[in-house]
Symmetry: C2
Subunit: 356 residues, 2 copies
């Protein structure tokens, strides 16, 4: 149980009760790791009451101090079960991912006065990392920095993208991580101009850009970084210009990050740099995304996301230019918002680097 | 587009419109393979109207004859979009898995007169396989039979369960399948008495039971079979009795299968055999589950599932006895319901077999 996190959630909501069904959110708030598949699992939070976990008896759980478990069996009436713990006068905030098969019968039985999407307070609490999470995020990115150094050593003339990708998980594990945070992107040459390219049998040749967009999970927390190298030969003049634009977009955006700025304005700083350089139409995605237990969490660094940063938010800054005729290039770091600036979690340098 | 399947769905529902959001069901009905993650995807079915697919512009789809696509972009109002195609007088059946974040705003905006769980007609249609599906299910199980023959050859004194499991996918691929239908169960000795044992570092020794519960995916369709062998030494007298009870439970149950019988009665036939043999308390799970595109689909062969079989239903018959002191044993086949009996998809024999 993490009482602080639960308190922070309840501070952020006007609902009388919250019914959280996302297993990751439940683990974040209680420490209970449960993945009951099709079966109903939910955490009920009410002000001044102990949290209650609705759990099928098929899934054993060691007692967690302060958490009450409401057990049920296959065939039991879920609506009735929940109704016994919710008042008909309550405004009930339900998980944004609660499924119709559970929600519709609750609405029909009018177990609460009003039903509303109750996920935002949980998502916004998750977006503010506590000390323990900050340490894990730092370690995860430190491993990612070390891994990037190792990945460079895998390149040689004629190697396929997928051959390199296939070796990355073992390297992460040697460095102390447990898993990928997402399937790694390895892109050579023109493939680097596709932001979501999946590693294939493309062979590496001199002069190619080599883009690695990679991350690992360390004790439940994700890293995510991109670097773009050049194989054997340095960039030509125009490629150098593109690379430096992306680098400037990354660094100028990071320089604007601090508590209380609009996330859309951070995006705009990076976008303005690239637009003024004449490559605006080749920067085709948002500047970044929030990250933590999941690689993509609630929160965007994009033109449409007007929220203010909060201290200890963590998100990516990942401008890119994707011009198949010239260069595909992205430089991505994770940053932690501080009171008067930011801590950049990735230490791998931004300089143009020729590898191989 | 599969007009027959869509017609069969609409025959089974009283709703004016169905809003299907499960990507597998959408693929089954239209042929469109789309996995848009967090973004809204839904197929709207109405009697006497062309099916409409709500799809984010980020996901390209080749035109499908007879299917109308309603495109939207990130930031568009999903509720408004859907409301333009649903009448406020409609009873709208929504997917059992439709998420609260999409469903609640539709209910609040009263885009339909009534909202109800509309998945059953789709699930029941999927449970009746058409000719093309029957052929794919047959091939998938034929590959599984051949694979079982190969898996036997992997055993030797001291081999670990996980070492055998690690070789199975390559064998399936050599035989023409594309993937596992579920992670294979390999269980030696006492481990076979745990119905959901995951392969670990247990080493094989003479006299052990060797249980393989395995299946593959062939062109989108699943197989699933279990056999229990003995390594080096045959079963002792009491083990033989247990094995033969399980075999009789399997074969007696299969003999009762035909169109129009209650699924709970098929379960009872197998359960009675094992109970009369004195091992009732060691048969701890339902007799079987429906199967097709997914390894576990809607429909049970269990005491609580009173539905009648329909022609071309496919489900597993998998009685087991799990007595850690004596033997863990399960024998599982897939069967297709016919008008006056059943077609057993697995041809691998049920006889006691000593391997290694």
């Amino acid at each position: 149980m993490n009482r602080n996190r639960i308190e922070n959630v309840m501070k952020r909501t006007d609902c009388d009760a919250l019914l959280i069904s996302d297993p990751i959110a439940i683990c974040y708030l209680t420490g209970a790791r449960l993945y009951p598949g099709e079966r109903f699992l939910a955490l009920l939070l009410k002000k001044n009451e102990a949290p209650k976990l609705f759990l099928n008896t098929l899934f054993p759980l060691k007692p967690i101090e302060g958490l009450e478990t409401v057990s049920y069996s296959d065939g039991d009436d879920i609506t009735k079960l929940v109704s016994e713990h919710v008042s008909r006068d309550d405004v009930l905030g339900v998980d944004k991912d609660l499924r119709a098969r559970f929600l519709l019968p609750m609405i029909k039985a009018r177990i609460a006065k009003e039903f509303t999407d109750g996920s935002l307070p949980v998502d916004k609490t998750r977006a503010v990392k506590d000390e323990k999470e900050l340490e894990l995020m730092r370690t995860s990115s430190r491993i990612n920095d070390a891994a990037m150094e190792r990945f460079k050593g895998l390149v040689y003339e004629g190697v396929e993208e997928q051959e390199i990708a296939a070796q990355m998980l073992d390297i992460y594990k040697e460095l102390g991580a447990q898993a990928y945070s997402f399937p790694p992107i390895v892109a050579f040459g023109k493939n680097a101009a596709d932001p979501h390219h999946m590693p294939d049998d493309t062979k590496l040749k001199a002069g190619d850009a080599v883009l690695f967009d990679v991350g690992c999970v360390y004790e439940g927390y994700c890293s995510d970084m991109t670097r773009t190298f050049f194989f054997k030969k340095g960039p030509n003049e125009i490629q150098r210009k593109v690379y430096e634009l992306v680098r400037k977009a990354n660094e100028d955006a990071a320089a604007t990050v601090k508590e209380g700025v609009r996330l859309c304005d951070i995006d705009k700083t990076a976008r303005d740099v690239i637009e003024q350089g004449g490559y605006g139409k080749y920067f085709t995605h948002r500047l970044g995304h929030f990250i933590g237990i999941e690689d993509h969490e609630y929160g965007d660094v994009s033109a449409s996301f007007k929220d203010l940063t909060e201290e200890n938010n963590i998100f990516s800054i990942e401008p890119g230019i994707y011009d198949p005729e010239t260069l595909g290039c992205r430089i991505e770091d994770l940053v932690v918002v501080t009171k008067d600036g930011c801590e950049i979690l990735n230490r791998y340098p931004h300089d143009i680097e020729i590898i191989g």
